[in-house]
Amino acid sequence: MNLFRLTHRAPLIQEAQKDTEKMLELGQDMFRHLTQAWTGETDPDQLEELKKQDKLINSLHRGVRKKVYEHLSLTGNESLFAALVLLSIVDDSERIGDYGKNIAELISFNPGRLDFGKYQETFERVWNQSTEMFENTIKAIRDDDEKSALKVMEAYVPISNTVDDLIERMFKEESGDTIKREYVALMLLMRYFKRVDAHLKNIASTVVNPFHRIGYKAKSK
């Protein structure tokens, strides 16, 4: 992505690139605020603020699509790869914003500190790993950093397996007539995290993968 900054060409694509980075930063900011929510420190106004951030992400999404289409329409296929990659990234970023909003809504249904009991440690581990994935994804996109991108892609599978194992375990251990509402929230949260991490993995893959393999595993050389 740094190639755009080295040349004066494709100024609309450069603008779209900046908007894409802003989308990711907004998404990351949403998830930082959500951290406070686990501890019951978030008030309803802050959760409403998160929904507004999602709307801003959506607005940037539409803006990037417009700029990319305009650029390709006006210049033919100049910077075609970069343009199509941006479209892929913003679609994933927009979904991340949606999941952030969904998590905010889930928390608003469960005010106060969320205590996941025996699953708390697993939850915090997945949460911390997802936060790290976010940081590495933004670094990968902003700096065209292949190492950071590969870290993200490699981190996804273990997190995904942890989430699946946790949910399977919860189904086995928590069977009965009633289930604690915190555990219902935990299951949904885990599924949301898995989806967010999948989208981050897709975004990171645009740095290292050829076009047709965006979203897939990096091919070993």
Partner: protein, 352 residues
């Protein structure tokens, strides 16, 4: 390179005028008689421009003929009006590329046909007015006199020192051949077509990528800035076909509405008159310059009428687009477009 191509363009205009003067007064009179019928002149302008897809080329040729005395100013004006209509073929062709998807085609076709509607409507009003009252001719003469008054006619005078010697050399060579006047005319047309096509291509490559941000900012903004953008971009790229067809895909994608396309299109119509002005100034002939200004005044008057009344061309274009978007009618619109812009003028020209 652009400077070189511009030189060839200016050379070709002067060469064309020179070739027609070699044909002699009989030939010149024949052209005058043929074009003396303003309706024929109008359809000639439509047909010629539809075929070569460049109103700039048609108007440059007209200016060259006026400078040579082979075409009178009053006969030139209907041809110039027709050229404005014929130039919209490119837009329609670009919109047909969107014909595979109904909604997309509806939007693209509306955006393309609004240009036709403006040009045809303007001709419908100004053509009869011009026949009886000559507002375009009179205002163009007024402009030319004012322009001459400030020394504008001498702008390209220095060019004579690098154009005339080359024309003399070409003439000396061609006079050794039979049909030298015809060969010179053909040579000048080839140079004219080639230089204008290369000029447009090169300027487009130079400009469009660099101004995409300006297009993004101002095309969606206020009408005046959109109009100025259309005029400025077209004046630089030297082709309204290029600039107006550039935005048809944006309309097809739904990024621009027909309402937003309209002021840009009006501006592009004004911007394209620069080519004829350059051609006319290169001849230093006052009547040729007046012909060029009449192209400008036709578009200015058109804007004065159909910008306040913009609801008419815009809603008509949207209705036509709705009809065009229906499945069977897409085929008919493609055929209809070609019939209107090629076949009808050709038949009128042949059988009149």
């Amino acid at each position: 390179m652009v400077v070189g191509i511009l030189y060839v363009f200016i050379l070709s205009i002067n060469l064309l005028g020179h070739s027609f003067s070699l044909f002699g007064s009989d030939f010149a009179n024949k052209i005058l008689v043929t074009t003396s019928n303003p309706f024929l002149g109008l359809f000639l302008g439509i047909l010629a421009t539809s075929l070569i897809q460049s109103s700039s080329t048609t108007t440059a040729i007209v200016v060259g003929l006026v400078a040579a005395g082979s075409l009178s100013l009053s006969n030139a004006i209907p041809i110039i009006m027709g050229a404005n209509i014929g130039t919209t073929v490119t837009n329609l062709l670009v919109s047909f590329a969107h014909a595979t998807r109904r909604a997309e085609f509806r939007r693209a076709f509306s955006a393309a046909v609004v240009h036709d509607i403006f040009n045809v409507s303007t001709v419908a009003i100004l053509f009869p007015l011009e026949l009886y009252f000559h507002p375009i001719e009179q205002s163009a003469i007024f402009l030319q006199r004012g322009f001459a008054g400030i020394g504008g006619m001498n702008l390209f005078n220095p060019l004579k020192y690098i154009i005339d010697p080359v024309i003399s050399i070409i003439e000396r060579i061609l006079l050794l051949l039979p049909y030298s006047a015809a060969i010179m005319a053909v040579l000048s047309l080839v140079l004219l077509f080639a230089s204008l096509a290369m000029l447009v291509q090169n300027l487009r490559k130079l400009i469009v990528g660099r101004v995409e941000v300006i297009i993004d900012r101002y095309l969606f903004g206020k009408d005046l800035t959109s109009m100025l953008l259309g005029a400025g971009l077209t004046a630089v790229v030297q082709s309204s076909s290029v600039t107006t067809s550039m935005i048809v895909p944006l309309a097809g994608a739904g990024i621009l509405t027909t309402r937003q396309v309209y002021p840009f299109t009006l501006g592009a119509n004004v911007g394209t008159t620069v080519t004829a002005a350059i051609a006319a100034l290169a001849t230093s002939d006052p009547i040729a310059v007046t012909a060029a200004f009449s192209h400008l005044m036709f578009n200015i008057f058109g804007i004065c009428i159909f910008y306040p009344l913009k609801a008419f061309p815009i809603s008509l274009a949207e209705h036509i687009g709705e009809f065009a978007g229906q499945s069977q009618s897409r085929v008919f619109m493609v055929i209809g477009g070609f019939v209107a812009l090629f076949t009808i003028p050709l038949l009128v020209f042949i059988f009149w």
